[in-house]
Symmetry: C2
Subunit: 334 residues, 2 copies
DNA sequence: GCCACGTCCTGTATCGTCACCACGCCAGCA
DNA sequence: TGCTGGCGTGGTGACGATACAGGACGTGGC
């Protein structure tokens, strides 16, 4: 069942069938209809592989994220799939497991021309890997670990957001604000940047920084968030507010504080970062920093699409986009 | 940079390069190394499109789910991607938006030989669409809307699980158990089957069924779950337990009950279905029915892989698998 | 010396599509 | 009448890989 068969059945040349399929002009209405009828009758389907080979494009972009079952990435993926569909692009998802190797593997697949482009959410790759990104196919970095890299970059307002979050806790009357921070693996990862924002807000308010109020965790999961909160509560450090590096961690922290018999917001106020959907429905509901997810997804796909349209030579300079954000105050800082 | 260039550089035929790439035997170690060196030097990458065309396989399976940002589907996708990777398969995700059209679109893409197979989570397609599934390429249905269809099917233990959940509430002392139920669109969708289980458990316990205790919702979201719980609380129907059709709905319901000033589990006990990760960390933590997600994902991919290996003629009869389950009791039914 | 067999490698023929260019036709115009 | 130019259509030839058949060579048995 090839284009040839259709051509024969319709009494035209394969090229005419191709034109009909691809909505090219220069086909008489009558001919077009005859072709469409033949396609219908034979139940013909284009062979995407053959088309890919011929055109050099696959119509699919890759999206590499640490784990698709983390709410933030799920919500990100949903947005990106939606936006990509508007550009007639499909999205294949790779899970990198938050590891450098996983991220490199995704890059390799993209290099194999399996994808027309790649949106890579970096966690493991660092500035040292900048050269690995010097590739000749479209890549957009979504995340924070690489600045001034050779590729387009869509970033969160990490420091500014963290600063606003911490400031919000201070404005609500907190004086001893703890931080549940993620793994710091360089100078420009999420955790480090949000840590910076936290420090800045303290400085701004003229409050001292107390290392005993920082609880680092190795993974940005609810489980670790809960454990960190219990650790803080048990340490006797004394705190009346917590800024959590992500909402997922914050939801875990709410649980950990409940386990420790602390009431939110009466005893301790809590704020997160990302404004994932779940935060609006937790008990108490979670205050958070809300970057513009739709805008970020749209920008990332937009960058990629522009790159894909570029003719080899006329390469633009790498673009960078930092999302605006707002603060959503809910019960946890009430 | 084609296989020909590599062949020329290594002084062998393209076929020998192909053999090396694909780990075929009958290549002398020395030759193999020469080829590998040439590949390295030229930075050669196979062109996946060409390979796909020639072999007729793409190495990618499709996973069509309503929305990837719903925790259940995120966690499902994560499992499936992991299992598929073990079979050297990539996974492309389609969002069907829980609509019939979306599901048909995913089927169409699969028909275009874009995917080697498709795992389709049906919500919109019903028994009436059985014929549309009578396709000649591998499809596995994940979900409940089509029984006795012409394709493999991996299902949840819907009725049995719902019955166990309801019975659990009764055993904990509830006498007026409400149900927050999803949209019923036929006889074999998730909502209907779980509704059946709820009714069975009531009958078993000799308790009357009270329609005033059933709160139907149109979408299985936290938002709708919260609204339904508030509706129930405000209706004056009087209830001391709620079985929610999914955990996502149950998490919303916890929120709604809190809004209505009802305490869980003291005033009302709550149980969900799916055992999503978030349920372990909510306050209070959520009791749930726990199907074996990993087993379901493994089985679905396994079915698909077997189908993909089948030679056209020797088609096996459709298989069906219903996951076992266990009940996880947490604070919400404490 | 001859044949059979296994190993290692090669030549050729597609896979199904679309880009490119050519061509026939007709209207409009000088 | 002959020329131009746009429209509708077709012929040819890659795109880059692999399937298949088979050849060259070396080894061992008789």
């Amino acid at each position: 069942m090839t284009i040839q068969d259709v051509a024969k059945a319709a009494g035209v040349s394969p090229m005419t069938v191709s034109h009909v399929i691809n909505d090219h002009p220069h086909v008489r209405t009558e001919t077009r209809e005859r072709v469409l009828r033949a396609i219908e009758e034979l139940d013909y389907r284009v062979n995407v592989a053959a088309r890919n080979l011929r055109t050099g494009r696959t119509g699919t972009i890759g999206l590499a994220v640490p784990e698709i079952d983390r709410p933030y990435y799920g919500q990100l993926a949903a947005e990106i799939i939606k936006v990509a569909a508007g550009h007639h692009l499909r999205v294949a998802i790779e899970q990198t497991g938050a590891s450098r190797e996983g991220e490199l593997a995704a890059l390799a697949l993209s290099r194999n021309r399996l994808y027309d482009g790649l949106i890579l959410s970096t966690v493991g790759l660092g500035p040292a890997d900048t050269d690995l990104l010097r590739v000749d196919h479209p890549v957009v970095i979504l995340g924070e670990r690489i600045f001034d890299g050779p590729v387009d970059h869509v970033a969160m307002p990490n420091s500014a957001g963290a600063r606003a979050a911490t400031r919000h806790l201070l404005e609500r009357g907190c004086r001893r604000v703890a931080l549940i921070d993620g793994p710091q693996r360089g100078e420009v990862d999420v955790s480090s940047l949000r840590y910076d924002g936290y420090r800045e807000a303290l400085d701004e308010a003229g409050l001292p920084f107390d290392p005993a109020l920082v609880a680092p965790i190795e993974q940005l999961t609810m489980e670790r968030g809960a454990a960190a909160a219990r650790r803080l509560a048990g340490s006797g450090a004394g705190f009346d507010g917590v800024f959590c590096v992500t909402d997922t961690v914050a939801l875990g922290a709410l649980r950990g504080l409940a386990d420790s018999g602390l009431r939110v917001p009466d005893d301790v106020k809590v704020i997160g970062f990302d404004n994932i959907a779940e935060g609006a429905y937790s008990v108490p509901s979670l205050s958070s920093i809300d970057p513009d997810h739709a805008l970020m997804a749209g920008t990332a796909v937009g960058f990629l699409v522009k790159r894909m349209a570029e003719k080899g030579a006329a390469r633009q300079a790498p673009r960078e986009f930092v999302s605006p954000f707002s603060l959503v105050a809910r019960e946890s800082t009430g």
